[in-house]
């Protein structure tokens, strides 16, 4: 499977993400000759434990989430980031979890946008919105390099691409930048050969960053 980096928009301190920024980012992709192909959507669900009393919930993981990826419509991914656990399952696992009634959905988010072809690269730009809402919470970008499946071997070319991308986007003087934080895949038991489990882990990492950004903004306000 081709390697992919998942980036997220990091707003400058004191600023927030906006649909204007999203629009500028999409225009920037097209300005470097990205060919728009179609829509994509990923869904991320945060779960919370179902306990008889509120206090009991503290002994269970708060960072248990599930991800549905567009390139794997028959699969579902569970991650517990704090314990570096990732699991790939058939999509029937969602029904199974509902039957267990031990965990329920706390909040679900869509990553929604357009896909672009750019030579050997496939790009996806997406807004992060809660399901049933248009409230923009973030912007993500996937950069996929089709010829290579090795995490290590692709590093250099991905960095070179990102340099080109950052130069293009900086011309628009937007209040922020795209960040890539590569998780330690080895800690999750993943190998150098890229898989959708790697993608799921990257999304979990991006979510942690988005949450940290929102919390930082809230603490400044308070």
């Amino acid at each position: 499977m081709p390697l992919k980096w998942v980036l997220h928009w990091q707003p400058n301190a004191g600023t927030t993400v906006s649909s204007q920024i999203l629009s500028e980012v999409s225009q920037c992709v097209e300005s470097i000759n990205g060919v728009k192909e179609g829509r994509w959507r990923a869904t991320l669900t945060f779960y919370k434990p179902h306990t008889r009393e509120q206090l009991m919930a503290a002994e269970f993981p708060r960072d248990f989430l599930g991800i549905l990826l567009p390139e794997q419509p028959n699969k579902y991914y569970f991650i517990i980031r704090g314990q570096r656990i990732v699991l790939e399952a058939d999509s029937s696992i969602q029904t199974l979890m509902e039957k267990l009634q031990s965990y329920k959905t706390r909040v679900a988010l869509h990553f929604d946008g357009f896909q672009y072809q750019l030579g050997d690269f496939q790009l996806r730009v997406g807004k992060v919105v809660p399901t049933h809402s248009e409230n923009l919470r973030g912007i993500v970008m996937e950069v996929e390099y089709l010829p290579i499946s090795s995490v290590e071997k692709a590093k250099q070319i991905m960095e070179e691409f990102l340099d080109i991308w950052r130069e293009a986007i900086s011309k628009r003087s937007l209040p922020g930048h795209f960040m890539h934080m590569e998780p330690n895949f080895v800690e999750y038991g993943l190998t150098d050969h890229y898989t959708s489990q790697h993608t799921a882990v990257q999304y979990a990492t991006v979510m942690a960053q988005l949450i940290a950004t929102v919390q930082a903004v809230q603490s400044v306000r308070n």
Binding site: T51, E59, F60, P61, I85, V86, E88, K99, L100
Partner: protein
């Protein structure tokens, strides 16, 4: 959803049962070596307790894992009248981290078993699976190489078929009809309703063994 019946057979008659099944099913048996890990939710998790089973198929060159949840049986007067159990069942293939994940979610080990035997998968009015296995317990945690039979000399036979709310009547009929062929060797009934071994088993087994399995029923 699935339809299930179970029965027991003395180990000495398993070979005869295999011959009978081979003749009835027309397919080759598959060897079975499944490590079944039964987990229960910890005391504070969930408003009601929940159970989940992790099945590790040790016959494959690289072990494959399945998670299974068995739900409640169909109830009511209609359900009581049929001789096959109809119950909800959901399963999912999973990657190898399933046990770690469920422990992290607050599930605890309730018990574990090793099932060793064989299975036949075939189509006969429904997609039917017959498994014949000895049920073994492990003397040390997860030590599948050191397992001993729970009931020496007795093996468990299970006949299952997937079903849906729309077709379970047909599936029940298919399973019941198939079970009649096995009647000389063993009696199959709803799990939880034990019937013991059948008195005709010895004679039926002798007949099958001397026949060499050459005459399909």
């Amino acid at each position: 959803m699935e339809c299930v019946v179970q029965g027991i057979i003395e180990t000495q008659y398993v070979e005869a049962l295999e011959i009978l099944l081979q003749g009835l099913c027309g397919v080759h048996k598959e060897r079975l070596r499944i490590h079944e890990i039964c987990l229960k939710s910890g005391p504070n998790l969930g408003v009601v307790a929940s159970e989940v089973r992790l099945l590790c198929d040790l016959e494959q060159p690289e072990s494959t894992w399945t998670v299974r949840h068995i739900g409640g049986a169909m109830r009511g007067a209609g359900a009581e009248q049929i001789s096959v159990l109809v119950r909800t069942m959901v399963e999912s293939k999973v990657s190898k981290n399933a046990l770690r994940l469920f422990y992290a979610l607050g599930y605890k080990l309730d018990h574990e078993l090793l099932r060793v035997g064989f299975a036949f998968h075939f189509q006969r009015g429904a997609q039917i699976t017959v498994t014949v296995s000895s049920v073994n317990k492990m003397l040390k945690l997860h030590a599948t190489d050191e397992a001993v039979p729970v009931t020496p000399g007795i093996q468990l036979v299970e006949v299952t078929a997937p079903a849906s709310a729309e077709n379970y009547n047909e599936v029940v009929a298919a399973v019941s009809s198939f079970c009649e062929y096995l009647a000389p060797l063993l009696h199959l009934s709803k799990p939880g309703i034990s019937t013991g071994v059948v008195p005709t088993a010895a004679a039926a087994a002798a007949s099958l063994m001397s026949d060499g399995g050459g005459t399909p029923l």
